[in-house]
Structures are given as C-alpha cells and as structure tokens.
C-alpha cells in the first residue's frame, strides 16, 4: 500500500509530500537541509535569469565531491524524491544517498570558484554551491 512520506523542512515545519496517492501516513527521517543567506541570494539571482523550473540535486563522487547542483529543466529519475525544499526549490537526492544522509544536518553554502567544472547554474557568476555538514545534532 503506498504511503505518504512526511518530510521535515529547514524551518522545522512538517510539510506533506505525496509521491503516490496517499492513504496511510507515517513519518520517516529525512536529511535536514538549510541554506545560508549568501547562497539563497545566489538562488534568487539565478531564478531572476531563468524561466524554467529550478531543481537542486545532491549527488556524489569523484572530482566534484558530494555537492549541490542547481539546474533548470532537470530530468528526474523515477525513484527520486525531494528530501527538502530551500528557497522554494525542491532538493533531490538519489534514494541510496537519502538513506545515508538520514541523520545528517547539512547546509548549502556558496564559495568563490571562477573555474568550476560543474554544470550548475550559479557557476555562471563565478561561484559554486557547496555542502557544509555539522556534527549530528549541532545546528549549522
């Protein structure tokens, strides 16, 4: 039977998120994701320049490290579910990563990086989103 997943947002409010037609409900832990003021400003700047729907996706590996990527018109994998929402932009993580990051508190921040090779939209302004992590339980 499909369940309704309930997620915690950065503000602490519980927002319903139905990924199938919901009948029963239960709460599962999702990673807690916040955003710094400076990073939020960059998201707004990107939003002003783009017309399509924006998506944050966090995935790992290799040269870019585990980092947030901001895209326009991103194609979501069928298994993807938003683990949070920041600046009204949904944040996606692949299933396996969402489980790994269940107890994590992470913050999307931004750093100067004029040469980033990520295809994330903020790189146009010579900056790059990064993921900051605090020890579990501590606020960022």
């Amino acid at each position: 039977m499909p369940e309704q997943r309930v997620r915690r947002s950065g503000t602490g409010d519980i927002l319903p998120f139905a990924n199938h037609a919901a009948t029963g409900t239960f709460t599962i832990d999702m990673p807690t994701i916040d955003i710094t003021a400076r990073a939020a400003e960059i998201v707004e700047r990107v939003r002003a320049q783009r017309s399509g729907p924006l998506t944050f996706t966090i995935d790992g590996g290799c040269c870019e490290g585990t980092a947030p990527h901001l895209y326009e018109h991103y194609v979501l994998a069928p298994g993807a579910h938003a683990v949070a929402e920041v600046c009204a932009v949904p944040v996606y993580m692949p299933e396996a990563m969402a489980t790994l990051y269940e107890d994590a508190r992470v913050t999307i921040d931004v750093v100067d990086d004029p040469l980033s090779d990520a295809m994330s939209l903020e790189t146009e302004y010579g900056v790059r989103f990064v993921l900051r992590e605090s020890a579990s339980g501590a606020a960022e």
Binding site: G60, T66, D113, L115, M119, V130
Partner: protein, 501 residues
C-alpha cells in the same frame, strides 16, 4: 609567468572575451601560468573548425595506414617534450614528478602509439568491413561497415590531464573523427600542449582542438552543440548524468566514466606482503585521486590483524613532500576544496565509530600545499558513509568478511561498479569470485593495471560505455549495413506481393 591560449584550428588563440585565469600549483599554492578561459563563442568556433576539418576529408580520407603513421609520430613527439610536459603536469595537478615521468607522459604517448598501430592492423581492417552472403529470403550480399561519427567532444578530469586527454583524442582521431576537448579548468595546460604537439607531428589543423573553460558554459556548449555526434566524459557522477540529459536533445552518443568505491578483496591464501603493498598502491597512488581506487579493502577475518599491520608498516615507505623531488611518492591534493572534503569524511569516519589507525590529519612540518596524510580506517562497516561515498582522497576503509559469499555481498553493496580486485594464490578461485563482482574491471593479484588493449568502464552508477581496446574504438564509429540485392525483374521480389496483387 607562462601564458597559454586556447588551441583552435591548428593555432593558439586568445579567448574572444579576452578572459584568462591563473592556474595554481597545489604544492606551493601559488599561480604558475595564465590560461585563456573559453566562453560559448570560443567553443562554437572550435566545433566549427572541427566540423570543417571533418567535412573537407583532409583527415577522414587518409588511409588507416597514413593516420596510424601520424599518430605514432605524435607519440614520439610527446617523448621529445617529456620534461616540459612532466613539469607542467606536476605544477598543474599536484602529482609527483615520479608519477609524471613514469605514468603520465609514457601513458599519453603510448595511447597515441597503441591506437596508431592498431588501425594499421588486420583486426581493425576486419572491424571496418565484414562481408556475409545470405540466402534468406532471397540471395543477397551484405556488408557491415564502420565509419567515423564526425566531430566528437571529450571532457576530462584533473587527476590525469595528459592521459585522459590522450584517451579522448587518440581513439577518436584514429577512427577518422575530429575532436574538441575541454580539460578540467584547474589543470588545462598539458592538454593544450598535446594539441600543439599533434599539429607539430602532422595532424592537420582543426582535427584536434582544445578549449579550456568552465563546465556551465564551455562544457554545456559541447554537450548540446548539434554538430557534435559523441561526448565522452570522465568525471563525477552528477555531472555525467547532466551531460547525458543535455545530449539527449540531439541524440548524442555518450560515454561516461564516473565515480567508484572499488572493493579490494584479500583472500586468506594471498601473499600478504604483496597484497598489503597492493592495497596501499591501490588507494594512495596519486593521493587517492583515482576513480577506480580500491578504497574498500575487504579482508578475511583470519588474516585481518596481520594484513592491517603490513599495511601500516608499508605506509612508512611513502614519502610525502616536494612534488618535483624524484624521491617523493605522495604530493598534495589538487586544491583546498578537495582537502576540506577529505577532512570532512575523516571526521565522519571517527564519528560513526570507525577506528583511524594511521593518518587522518595534515602532515607535520609542511606549511604550504594541500597535503594530507595517507589514512587507514579499520573496523569499518560497509553501511558507514566512509564506505559508501566516494571521498577521492587518501582514505581507505578496512572491512572484515567471514566467507566469499559475504565478501561478494559487501563488494556489490555499493551504487558504484568501476573497479575491484581479488588477491589469492588460487587463480581459478579468484576468477570465479571476479565473475560475481559487479564491476567493469577486476584485477586478480594486482591493482591499477589499465591496459590500452582492454576495455575500461563501469557498471551501475560508475558509467556507461567503454573506453580503450577494440571495444572502445568501436564506440568511436557508426555501424552501417549495406544489403546488396540481386538485380532482377519484379518476379524476383515475391515479398512485394504482401502489398501488390
């Protein structure tokens, strides 16, 4: 300070917008060269040059013999400039001089030599054209031929700039394509030099173009440009996914070589001295910044303590220091961001209950450079984040197993599937185990042995497609079936009656 432009149509060009950026030496944290930064217009210019060179036939109409000769000349030219190339590679990427002289330069040269020789041989001839006679439903003669794609794009990472550049250039142009390469922005220099070397060795203008620029502009332009038929990318999983999405709009062929968390399995009958050094080589070579690094060492519980001791002893043989010094084995990480990432995962490992047996910090006595000590975590559970996420640094997780079934289960419990290894005195047993591991490469009694003759690539989230070998070469071609039917009157085509009375 040295200056490098973009390399388009056989010559050095400044970026149209005049933009340049310094490239930093990770060992000194100082800039050592200024490199032009390409924007979309520069990339379009490079693609136009590549397309013109392809359409003119100046390269594709040469016989494989001729192209092969020129590629072999490129290899020789690389060796002629090896000191300059090695020094540039070390200063750009933070690898050691030892790595540059024994891996990067020969690796790049051998790539051109190998594919230059391959296309001159009978195996390639057979790949280019196969012929079959058919009798069903009526007699026909059939040709299956391979042709070049046209213009290919290569986007490369910062860990092996020269070798990755060679992997994206040599097989492409060996097949008769022309190409545009975008190297990693933090390590653009040696790829740019390779393009110049190609011209010097006789590759016609426009066949090899190199544009250094950021991913969001230069990279995106290559992934979406309608005149590019194939994109070959080596780098992080997320960027790979995006490139595949962007390529979909124009149905590009895409090969992706992405991340890994490769299992290195030590069976109880292995030579533990060799396997322990193999585990160090597999994890700490180039400071762990290799996609197929054996970052999870799976060791049988009966030999665990002895094996771990040998690994820790072996670390004493790794000298960290000045990258230009030929006795140095480990240099710095490529930039501050990468070191921060490593430090984050080390903290996580400690937090999640793994035991840091050695390393886990910056080396004492080194004041400049993004250095980090080789780090071993023991008592790691495969579910811990340090065992699941790619760290891309000198950190290895040691995990115990009871029997082969458990080793296989742990090895395959990863989203990645790039490389892996099995160490055992019993080769048959090791190969049987290798067949059960879900990775694109498995080394038995070895690590990092990539061979230009054999395919390299990933299962699962480690990528799609293969590079190297005849399989990699095939991916730089298109297939065409030519059916030659008999020239008869209408009565010879009885199947037309499906439509016609």
């Amino acid at each position: 300070m040295r200056e490098f432009g973009l390399y388009i149509n056989g010559q050095w060009e400044a970026a149209k917008g005049g933009k340049t950026a310094p490239t930093i030496n990770p060992a000194t944290e100082e800039p050592w060269a200024n490199v032009a930064v390409a924007d979309r217009e520069d990339v379009r210019k490079a693609v136009a040059a590549a397309k013109k060179a392809h359409d003119s036939g100046v390269w594709r109409n040469k016989s494989p013999q001729e192209r092969g000769e020129i590629l072999q000349k490129v290899a020789a030219a690389i060796f002629e400039r090896q000191d300059e190339l090695a020094a540039a590679e070390v200063q750009d990427g933070g690898g050691t001089m030892r790595k540059a002289m024994s891996m990067d330069v020969p690796g790049a040269a051998q790539t051109f030599f190998h594919f230059g020789q391959f296309i001159q041989g009978d195996e390639y001839k057979a790949m280019l054209q196969e012929e079959y006679d058919e009798t069903v439903p009526i007699p026909s003669h059939n040709l299956v031929v391979r042709e070049p794609i046209g213009v290919t794009a290569g986007i490369t990472p910062w860990n092996f700039p020269m070798i990755m550049g060679a992997w994206k250039i040599a097989p492409s142009i060996a097949a008769g394509n022309t190409c545009v390469i975008k190297p990693a922005s933090v390590t653009p220099v040696t790829t740019l030099m390779l393009a110049e070397i190609c011209t010097q060795a006789g590759v016609p203008a426009g066949v090899v173009n190199v544009v250094s620029g950021p991913g969001g502009t230069a990279g995106e332009e290559l992934a979406t440009h309608p005149d590019i038929g194939k994109v070959a990318f080596t780098g992080s999983t997320e960027v790979g996914k995006r490139i595949m999405q962007l390529g979909a709009g124009t149905l590009k062929k895409v090969t992706l070589e992405l991340g890994g968390k490769s299992p290195n399995i030590i069976l109880p009958d292995a030579n533990l001295d060799t396997a322990a050094l193999g585990a160090l080589f597999g994890t700490f070579m180039h400071q762990g910044q290799i996609c197929e690094s054996g970052t999870r060492v799976l060791v049988h519980e009966s030999i665990h303590d002895e094996f771990l001791e040998k690994m820790v002893e072996g670390i004493k043989r790794i000298k960290i220091g000045d990258t230009m010094d030929p006795t140095t084995g480990m240099g710095p990480l490529v930039n501050a961001q990468q070191r921060e990432t490593v430090e984050k995962y080390v903290a996580l490992g400690n937090e999640q209950g793994a035991k840091c047996v050695t390393g886990g910090k910056r080396p004492d006595g080194i004041s400049k450079g993004y250095y980090f000590e080789p780090t071993i975590f023991d008592q790691v559970d495969n579910k811990m984040r340090i065992a699941q996420e790619e760290i891309f640094g000198p950190v290895v997780s040691v995990i115990r197993f009871k029997d082969e079934d458990e080793a296989v289960r742990i090895a395959n419990d990863s989203v990645y599937g790039l490389g892996g290894a099995v160490w055992s005195a019993n080769k048959e047993r090791a190969v049987a185990l290798a067949r059960r591991i879900e990775t694109g490469t498995v080394w038995v009694n070895d690590y990092h042995m990539i061979n230009l003759r054999f395919p390299f690539g990933g299962y699962k989230q480690s990528g799609i497609g293969r590079e190297l070998g005849k399989w990699g070469m095939a991916e730089y071609h298109q297939l065409k079936h030519i059916h030659v039917g008999e020239h008869t009157g209408p009565e010879g085509k009885f199947y037309f009656q499906m439509l016609l009375n």
